[in-house]
Symmetry: C2
Subunit: 453 residues, 2 copies
């Protein structure tokens, strides 16, 4: 019996143990440690140690896990690990992989590995690989497993059980058997639970689920996630336009998809790739982040240029320089709330054309309430500070304007970007803060120029 309450701390001590053993070059400890690990634990370990040390651990990974480990590593981690491996090692590792896992590896590693792998496949394997790669990344066709057990509907459950016992094993994460007709067309699913609890002399057609949902191979993974959550599914058969069964998406594939979609929003909001590897080497990481900082620098200079238009005003009333960041930053904070809710709502499939109007109304109403409340607060504080009622009024007015604009921006930016085919999770934040900075500075300094000079 393994007590999991000790496992969490064990996980972190596992990392410590291995790092220590690597430092001391203690091969015995490394060998014995790895013998006791499952593939997913090895992946977790590799992702928790510095990139340069991962190559050194490859030889300790039990051979039967090599492929699984390569597959389950994040893309960035996989590429950087491959720098320490030769073609032969990678070809050996992937030799037992399912087609969709193989496609993932081939697609993300440098071409030299892809070529070596292709050369190692037989005709059938190569055909399967190219068929899989023909689908776009992150679609059902690319993610599906092709190992579903398919059965006919006119047999008894007794016969099915005998068949499965002869097979001795069924594919992992099977919760139901796919039912097809003579031409391979998808008819429905037979849940394992029904197979077990129904009388064996019943026929598959008596107990199968004919309402089972199926998806086309082109469906992108974010739509799969919406369907999955909404219909409480346990598996998803994939069918072509002729309704022929070509694969299935399993529950644990879905969990990976949900994690990736979450990462996309969490990391995308700060300009990081959702495959970002915590321990990837310094220089590639630096390059990736520099691009994002560059874009933000450009928007920062835009805001500075806007401020520069009011140099004259600032020279005369220096209190404005002290107070101006307040309006801009409050707009950014409030707008980010609206933006984040919209992006998450779109990802979860909750935004439709008819509820948009109500949402827009709600967000703008909240922003006006906020704007008035905070306008009064900041007006009072600035009066206590500078004893100038005009500055307070200008500050308060700019606050209301900017918060209202922030709500409109936070609401519309994701919708407009989605229409334009841009991922709002990545670019939405930059667009929003650019808008709230510019409007914030223009409204505050502009009103000040008009009313204070």
């Amino acid at each position: 019996m393994t007590e999991a309450n000790t496992l969490i701390s064990n996980t972190q001590s596992l990392t410590d143990t291995v790092l220590e053993a690597l430092e001391d070059n203690n091969q015995d400890v490394l060998h014995s440690t790895f013998l006791n690990l499952e593939a997913s634990e090895i992946v977790h370990l590799l992702e928790s140690i510095p990139d340069s040390l991962r190559g050194a651990l490859w030889e300790y990974i039990p051979e039967e896990f090599n492929g699984e480990v390569l597959v389950e590593l994040g893309d960035v981690a996989r590429v950087s690990l491959a720098k320490y491996l030769d073609h032969g090692q990678v070809v050996d590792a992937v030799s037992d992989l399912d087609t969709n896992d193989l496609a993932d590896v081939v697609d993300t590693l440098p071409d030299e590995f892809g070529d070596a792998i292709r050369q190692s496949l037989d005709f059938h394997g190569l055909q399967n690989l190219e068929a899989c790669l023909a689908f776009d990344e992150d679609t059902a066709g690319r993610l599906m497993e092709t190992d579903a057990i398919a059965i006919r509907s006119d047999v008894t459950l007794e016969a099915i059980l005998r068949y499965l016992r002869k097979k001795e094993t069924i594919p992992e994460h099977t919760m139901g058997l796919m039912v097809i007709d003579r031409e391979g067309l998808f008819l429905g699913e037979l849940p394992l639970s029904k197979l077990i609890t129904s009388s064996p002399d019943k026929h598959v057609s008596d107990v199968m689920d004919t309402e089972a949902l199926s998806v086309p191979p082109e469906m992108p993974q974010n739509e799969l996630a919406v369907l999955f959550r909404e219909h409480d599914l346990t598996s998803m058969p994939v069918v072509d336009e002729g309704n022929k069964l070509i694969g299935r998406i399993t529950l644990d594939d879905m969990i990976e998809i949900l994690d990736e979609e979450a990462d996309r929003q969490i990391l995308g909001a700060v300009g990081l790739d959702e495959e970002e590897d915590l321990f990837s080497p310094v220089l590639p990481s630096a390059k990736r982040r520099l691009f994002w900082l560059g874009i933000n620098l450009a928007t920062a200079f835009l805001a500075s240029w806007v401020i520069g238009l009011f140099e004259g005003t600032l020279e005369k009333v220096v209190a404005l320089a002290v107070l101006m960041p307040i309006v801009a930053s409050m707009g950014g904070i409030a707008g980010s709330q609206t933006l984040t809710l919209m992006i998450r709502g779109l990802a979860m499939g909750k935004i439709s054309s008819s509820n948009q109007r109500w949402l827009a109304y709600k967000e703008i109403t909240i922003s006006i309430i906020s704007g008035v409340v905070w306008a009064i607060v900041v007006g009072c504080i600035s009066y206590l500070w500078f004893q100038d009622i005009k500055i307070s009024l200008v500050l308060g007015s700019a606050m209301v304007i900017n918060l209202a604009v922030a709500a409109v921006a936070g609401f519309s930016i994701p919708l407009l970007m989605k229409k334009a085919g841009i991922d709002p999770a990545l670019a939405g934040g930059v667009a929003l803060t650019t808008a709230t900075d510019v409007v914030g500075f223009v409204s505050f300094l502009g009103l000040a120029t008009i009313f204070l000079l």
Copy 2:
């Protein structure tokens, strides 16, 4: 056969259809629409329409789904829906719920509903409810289902199958049967796949998994998520200190947990509750967001106060007012990348005491590279703009300082908060931008005061 590729657009048209029918008070359309929906579709629909309209839809929800719908709604949505229901309706709705779902409802609705529900339970039901509520929210004990099928190890698989056929149904999301001994102590799991593919005359003890992980009821859900991902589990038995089986966490419970953990970081970063309801009424939403804006306003005034210390400098060199937001904002952007990676890394269980040193080294190195690169860039741009080499040097130096500080802050804030028991996903961002704003303004304006005046 239901083609799912039409389902996505159907979902959004569903919302439109219902909203239209409500507007026209078209009861026939509403009745027939709801007859064709599953519980999870109803929940999705309710979460996609304005709060005030949800109460009106309650009567159209098929009675057998009432409880499930109440349970699956987010906490905020559930509370606002309950405003339109009387005690009797809620008590009827929850009458068939499992204990953990009942506990969720009782815990989140106003006390009047909780009391009404308690009064409707028999002694046994009440005991179960209080036992469940005794566990902290978001722990295994609160989340577990208590309906696991438990079997003995000394029986044949044939006997198990006969038993299950007599039961006719097994609990949803069962992927394995729990094996216990005479005293109810947990021995292992019998996966359904093994039950189906093994010879029926074998005994449970021959084919069961004795290495099955189990968790204590106190384990918090974020640790459950780490274990789950890392060990590729399909279910988690929950055992007390005496190793007695008391419940199980199912796969779809886990998916809810993963979604919540993701929401916590996504929404927490902008000061929203992870249960935030897109369509909750305006006033409660406004109140929740005002609190967050208030905190950020305080930090904005802190930054203003810091700028105010350099009023004299700003009066003399107005170009400083134009350029100063650049340093502060770049620090915030870069620091957010480090912060977000750390928070996500901590949530995924990838940060341990021995890899922290390497991570800190990596983040600070990247920040110095970034700092130098951008210092040169902004220095050149500001020289082209203001033709003042001293301003450029001051700007560049402040950039390097602030980016380095941002990296240190982004790295340490989550670790310090975690030690202090604060959730870094919520408070980390505010702490970071406060630090980068203050350091940004102080370094830029401070250096300017020293070298330009």
